[in-house]
């Protein structure tokens, strides 16, 4: 048999996990990455990685409850079988990472220690100091280096993925890449291509994401015909440190320890914050949510901070949106003891001591729940059929997607410390499926394909590149255009979404996209030309930006990270018990109606002129039936009571009904509405 190879694009947790697992299985792997893989964005994850463990089990925890937390947290917008499989692998994945040398924090008896994270009642989160992502990535980087030393893995670091190579039968046969140093464009034959390129935060200009997170690889795959799922679901973290270059995360624990959020009552009050008297400060979270104060749920905190700065014009600074997160009233010793680490980060980057001066913070785009659509094969027990060639496969045969760039695991909202798990899991689970795919390749191995297929693909990208360098351009500056794009997207498609606003933004987005075609290059050279590489990445941000905006406009509901005030189920208003009960009944009716209408994934395909065409895919919720998320809602107890009575009255008929709908093993063939 002809020699076979797999190309992996991206060397974060997902890409490295896939690379080492394939290498172990005897597969030759090429690994292409914009940066040396050890510098991938996975290093930025701090908190930890969630799995059920021996300790939580004794408090009643189980894989099933981890599944429940994940789909409830995700507002039921994900297929449940892949999540079930993921949480079941969780404990084994932690064991593996432990064996690979990750320095997990230890209990005094020498077991792995755990902490509690949002969205669960159990201490499921294993951690390695405050740099868990870094430590996990390094362990995988080391294993990949080991295989590299043996010649099984070949790295192409400082290479840009330009696009997949798809033959006339529609099968992916490799990809085209560009050396970022020499600018050489080369075609790579591959029997499977795995895209593991991470999130697309740079579409929002500045975010908590790294500079490599342009989304360009996912966009190029999408433009080549791959489906993109739930693009409109973008997680925004409430507290980040605004910077001129990027937004860095500030942990929620600052508020947990007593931090207060406020803005001056007088817009852009120029006085130093400590000189502003109490009476002239607006503690808007405490004012509006007397019960929860500064510890309102994450999405509410995010929305309120955003509202205060944008719609109410009360940002601390006139030229930059931010509010104060104030710890200065707390004793220094307490701060050092409990918050030392995160305060040092603030001090390091802001050059200001947060023990003396209130921190300036603002919400920041943090994670893309949406991504490339991928398939799966459901097993009889409701998990995944391991080894199926469909697991993690895009709709282009031979082309796979894993990690943050797929849409599979987090639904409408990701739980903290679940992303490291989904990245490693999807990387490991894709490997046996690819090995089976390569056993029965349609039309033979990539190395047996006509060389004209590769020459043609290489030439096409070379011509695009040369044309970009040669043309006069139209005076547009790619860096400034990127800022405009970022500001537009941040303003209209993050925390609070209004249709009229987004429709206007969509028109402006199309204008920007046209202007991006007229970028003038300030570097037309043929050596380490970062200018042309950035310009190409910028152009490829627009198709995904359109997917995000169009999907958000079309989805007339509020779900997880997607919040439209016009389509939001408010709490109960009446205080009279009978009337309140009546309102709760109506609330549940509306919830059921909305579930019927909107519990489905947005699927975008790239149409004529880069216009996304949307359709919808039903979701396998056969394991855990959808239920209302009521945290913090006025009258939640009453709604819950009504809801439970309804469910009790319906079993088992409804459950069967759900089971039948979702019993379809192929989400690909699921109906589009």
């Amino acid at each position: 048999m002809a020699k076979q190879r797999v190309m992996i694009v991206g060397g974060g947790l997902a890409g490295l996990a896939a690379a080492m697992k394939l290498a172990e299985g005897g597969v030759e792997v090429d690994l292409m990455s914009l940066t040396p893989v050890k510098r991938s964005h996975s290093v930025c994850a701090q908190g930890g990685i969630n799995t059920v463990n021996d300790q939580t089990r004794q408090f009643g925890d189980s894989e099933w409850l981890h599944l429940d937390d994940t789909v409830y947290g995700g507002d039921f917008l994900q297929h449940q079988p892949p999540v079930k499989e993921m949480v079941e692998w969780g404990p084994k994945i932690i064991d593996l990472m432990d064996r690979l040398g990750v320095p997990f924090n230890r209990t005094s008896e020498g077991f792995r220690d755990h902490r509690r994270f949002g969205g669960t009642l159990f201490k499921r989160t294993a951690f390695a100091g405050a740099t868990t992502g870094q430590q996990l990535l390094y362990a995988l980087d080391e294993q990949v280096r080991r295989w590299e030393a043996e010649g099984r893995i070949h790295k192409y670091e400082f290479w840009d993925f330009l696009g997949p190579i798809i033959d006339d039968a529609g099968v992916c046969r490799g990809c085209v890449g560009q050396d970022l140093v020499t600018m050489e464009i080369r075609a790579f034959a591959a029997d499977a291509v795995v895209v593991a390129s991470g999130g697309c935060g740079l579409i929002y200009g500045r975010s908590t994401m790294s500079m490599a997170c342009t989304g360009s690889a996912a966009s190029r795959v999408y433009q080549a015909g791959a489906k993109y799922g739930n693009g409109e679901f973008i997680q925004v973290h409430p507290t980040a440190i605004p910077g001129a270059d990027k937004l860095r995360l500030m942990s929620e624990s600052a508020r947990g320890e007593g931090g207060r959020v406020w803005v001056p009552r007088k817009p852009h009050d120029p006085r130093p914050p400590v000189q502003i008297p109490e009476s002239e400060r607006y503690y808007f979270l405490e004012d509006r949510y007397p019960k929860y104060g500064n510890l309102v749920p994450r999405d509410i905190a995010t929305r309120e901070i955003f509202n205060v700065c944008t719609y109410e014009g009360l940002s601390v600074e006139p030229d930059r949106m931010c509010v104060y997160l104030d710890l200065t009233h707390l004793p220094r010793a307490t701060l050092d003891q409990k918050l030392g680490g995160i305060l040092e980060i603030y001090e390091k980057f802001q050059g200001v001591d947060p023990r003396e001066v209130p921190m300036k913070i603002f919400p920041a785009v943090h994670y893309s729940m949406g991504g490339l659509w991928v398939d799966y094969q459901r097993s009889a027990s409701g998990g995944l059929e391991i080894g199926s060639t469909r697991n993690q496969a895009t709709n282009i045969p031979g082309l796979y997607a894993i990690g943050e760039c797929d849409y599979q695991y987090h639904g409408a909202n990701r739980l903290g410390a679940n992303s490291l798990l989904s990245c490693i899991f999807s990387g490991l689970v894709v490997a046996p499926g690819i090995q089976n795919w390569m056993k029965s390749l349609p039309g033979g191995a990539a190395s047996e394909q006509p060389s004209s297929l590769y020459d043609r693909a290489r030439r096409k990208h070379q011509q695009t590149h040369d044309a970009l360098l040669k043309r006069a351009g139209g005076g547009e500056n790619p860096y400034l255009l990127h800022q405009e794009l970022g500001n537009l997207m941040t303003r209209s498609a993050t925390v609070v979404r209004h249709n009229s606003d987004m429709q206007e933004s969509y028109a402006r987005l199309c204008e920007l996209s046209t202007r991006a075609e007229k970028c003038s290059l300030s570097d037309t050279g043929h050596w380490t030309n970062q200018n042309v590489v950035f310009t190409k990445a910028l152009k490829d941000m627009f198709p995904l930006a359109k997917v995000i905006l169009k999907g958000a406009i079309a989805r007339d509901e509020s779900r997880g990270a997607h919040f439209k005030p016009e389509f939001c189920a408010a709490g109960l208003t009446s205080t009279a018990p009978a009337e309140r009960r009546h309102e709760a009944e109506a609330w549940c009716d509306r919830f059921e109606e909305n579930t019927r209408k909107w519990l489905k994934s947005t699927i975008a395909v790239c149409g004529e002129g880069g216009e996304p065409q949307l359709s919808y895919e039903s979701i396998d919720t056969s394991l855990i039936p959808p239920r209302p998320r009521l945290y913090g809602l006025v009258g939640g107890e009453m709604i819950e009571e009504v809801w439970k009575q309804r469910q009790a009255g319906r079993t088992p008929a409804t459950r069967d009904g759900n089971g039948t709908t979702a019993g379809k093993s192929s989400p690909a063939s699921a109906s589009a509405h």
């Binding site: 172990e24 940066t35 040396p36 050890k38 510098r39 964005h41 290093v43 930025c44 932690i94 064991d95 064996r99 690979l100 040398g101 320095p103 997990f104 924090n105 230890r106 008896e109 020498g110 077991f111 792995r112 390695a128 100091g129 740099t131 870094q134 430590q135 390094y138 362990a139 080391e142 294993q143 280096r145 080991r146 590299e148 790294s210 500079m211 910077g243 001129a244 270059d245 990027k246 860095r248 120029p270 130093p272 600074e317 030229d319 930059r320 390091k348 980057f349 802001q350 050059g351 490991l428 500056n477 800022q483 500001n487 303003r491 300030s522 570097d523 380490t528 030309n529 970062q530 200018n531």
Partner: protein, 293 residues
Amino acid sequence: MDHAATHDANSHSSHDHASAARVFAVRVLRQDGPGQPSYWERHEISRESDMNVISVLQRIAAKSKTAEGRAVPPVAWDCNCLEEVCGACTMLVNGRVRQACTALVDRLLEENPDEIELRPMSKFPVVRDLVVNRSRLFRALKKIKAWIPVDGYYDAGPGPRQSPDEQLQAYPLSQCMSCGCCLDACPQYTKVELTRREGESDEQFAAREHEAFDRGFIGAHAISQTMLFNANPTGSMNAGERLDALTSEGGIQVCGNAQNCVAVCPKEIPLTTSIGRAGRAATLHVLKQWFDK
């Protein structure tokens, strides 16, 4: 006027820098490619609040004009996380090797109000401008087998139990982000820069380069990583192999104990402690081999 227009204009925060200069100078040591001469170039940047050297380089790229108004290609530089955890943006800022992301403009201008000076790292071949080729650094990690040689990736239960003390020893060493600060500051670590011979293939050139790298000093980072893996209960099973590498040509014996490495490490890794431990382990290892003959 919308937020887009007000937000990112080169704004001046009235209360933060009321007395500070509006514009500051940046001097960059540029080089168009390997083997090319280097030259200084001066840029002027409008001051904004919360700037670091990364945002300075972003403004330079957006302007692509020198202080004299001459159009130039953007300065090339390397970066990714911008949180001092990936190691990419390492360069010489005002003569000191460090990450550009944590180099704050306000602090730098306090040191030297006239200008900020940017140069590429001095011990690695320049690719272009501030981008250097640090592949030698990763090569060293291969030489010392910086990994845990597990049997496989199938489920085999948890790793060995370890005390909190062992974790406390390992964690700081495991934070090494391979940035190369310790190498740039080391008097014994000298630049190895090869040029490709005519007709030499990629593979031939790489092989020749690896050979040259392996002869040069391995550096503090790799010595410290050896100690990290040799202290791991599973990793210790191959401790001898790593010590073989550490005592071969370019090994720990080259260290001149200047202690610059520990002074410049951005992660404050106790590099000299690792070197001390490695020295003792290497001596015992060599003696043991000698007696076992």
